[in-house]
Symmetry: C2
Subunit: 307 residues, 2 copies
Amino acid sequence: MEEFSVHILGCGSANPMQKHRPASQVLSTRGKLFMVDCGEGTQTRLARQGLGIGRLGHIFLSHEHGDHCFGLPGLVNTMGLLGRTAQLHIHAPQSLEPFVSFVTSHLCHEAGYEIVFHSLDPREYTLIYEDRRLEAWSLPLRHGVPCCGYLFREKLGARHIRREMIDAFGIPVCHINGIKEGADWTLPDGTVIPNKRLTTDPTPPRSWAYVSDTSFEPRLSEWLEGVDLLFHEATFSAQDELRAKQTCHSTSTQAATIAKRAGVRKLCIGHYSSRLKDEQELLREAQEVFPNTVLADEGLRLSIGED
Amino acid sequence: MEEFSVHILGCGSANPMQKHRPASQVLSTRGKLFMVDCGEGTQTRLARQGLGIGRLGHIFLSHEHGDHCFGLPGLVNTMGLLGRTAQLHIHAPQSLEPFVSFVTSHLCHEAGYEIVFHSLDPREYTLIYEDRRLEAWSLPLRHGVPCCGYLFREKLGARHIRREMIDAFGIPVCHINGIKEGADWTLPDGTVIPNKRLTTDPTPPRSWAYVSDTSFEPRLSEWLEGVDLLFHEATFSAQDELRAKQTCHSTSTQAATIAKRAGVRKLCIGHYSSRLKDEQELLREAQEVFPNTVLADEGLRLSIGED
C-alpha cells in the first residue's frame, strides 16, 4: 500500500519552550510532501526527519501567529539556495498575504523559482486543492484571527482487478481500465459478467485532519466524520477550560469530544501550553472520552493504513 | 572581575545543516546581553544557554542574508508574549530597515514595547553605540551586500584605590572619587602624595570583535589591533580560496592572517560551509598562522579576563 503518513515536526505553542518546537506537520504520500504550518526552525526538523525538501510542493498555513509561520522565510530561502526551480504553492487565509508577499519580494527575491499564493476564505468548509489522488479542504476554526484547519483526503481509487478472472475470460489489456472503472464484460455468446466478479473494492481512501488553533468548534464533528487521523490542538488541560476559552484554544477533553462525535479512528493531541507540567494528564483526560488518543511529539510519525 | 563573555548560539552558514545552526552570538557583561546576528532558531538557543531574554536590549545585525536575521521575528514576538515593556534597539545597515520595519509593523504589531531601529553606514569604521562602560564600533566588511562586523570594547574604568594607602593618609571618603580619577593628595604639611602611590592601574578594557560575512579585508587588522577575542568567519578551507573569493567569504588561513596582523589575543573561527567534512582541517590551517585559535561551536562560551 502506498505511504500515507503524518510527521510531527513541532507541537508546542506560542511561548517557546525547551521541550517542544512551534507548529508544523507534514503529510508524506506518493512521493510528495504536504506541509501544514511552518513555525520557526521547521526546515531543520524537516531535514532531521529525513524528509527531502525537494518533495515539498505545497504549504498550508492555518493563521498568522508567529508560532505557525515564522519558519517560512528560512524554508523558502533554503529552497532557493538548493537550486529549486519548481513552483512552491502556499495556501492560507488572505490575512497571510502581506507576510508571504514580503517573504517573496523582499527576503527571498533572489530565489530562482516561483511562489504561488493561494488565498482562501477561512470561514468556509470548502475544497481548496486537488490532484489526481488527493484533495484538501479548509476547516473554519475559532481563534480570534482568521484561522482554518485542513482536511486531506485520498480520492477513491480504481477497483482492483481480479487477475485470475481477467485471465479466465480472456479480457484484452485494452479493456482493463474500463473494468477498473466498473464496466461489466460481455462474452461472445452475449453473457454479461458483472463487474463485481471481475474486481474487488478499491482501497478505502485515507484521511488526515489538522485542527489548530481553535476554541471548541462543534461543527468540526460533522466535517470530520470518519477521518482516519485527527490532530486536534489541546493547549490546556480540562481544568483550564476557562483559560482555553479566553485564549481561543481547546482543552484535551474538548479535542476528544470532537474526535468521539466525528467517529474518527485515531486522535493525536498537541500544541501544548508552556505552562503544562505533565502531558500525560492531557492524555488521560482525552482517553476518558476517546480512548484511541496519542500525544504528539517531535519526530513522531503516524502512518495510516499500515496498522 | 565583572563578566565579559561571548556565547556562540550558531556558527553555521547559509545552507542549513544538522550539525550547526545559523549565525548568532551574544556578549554577556554587567548583567546585559548584546546580540550580534539572529539566525533562525536563535531564541531557542538563547534559552538553552540560560541567557535570559529580558537582559537583551540591543541586537546588532551584520547584513540582510537570512542565516543572519531570520530569527528576529520569533525573538521579537516572544519578547512581546513575555510582557516586555523596555525598548529593544536594533542596529543594522540601512538595507535591513524594510525587514525590521515589517517585523515591527506587521508581524509583531501587538507587542507592548517599542523597537528602535538604528541605521548605520556599513562603509564606515565608526562608533555606533556607547553606554557608561561599553562602546560598539562598526567594521566595514566585503560581502556583496551592505555588511558590517562589530567591535565591542570596554571603556577604560577608574583607577583602583589602594585601601591601605588611603587609610594611612586618612583621606576622607568624599575625595575617593577624585583619587580614582587620578588626583594627587596633599598632606596638611604641603607634601604632595602622587596618585601612583594611592592607586593601581585600572583593569585593562576588554574587547570582542565579530567579523562575518566577508572576503579577505586587510583593513581589519588595523581596526582590530590588540583585541582580546576575534571571531572571524572561516567558511572555507585554504584550498577553497577561489571559491571563498567568488562567494565573498574567507578561508581559515585568511582569518588567521587578520588575527596575526592585528595581534589579537585569541581567534575563534566559524560560519562553516555545509560542504565542509572536517572542521579540524580549518583549525590546523588557522593554527599554522595563528596558534591561539579555537573552533566555534553551539554552546561554546568564551570568557575574557578569567583566563
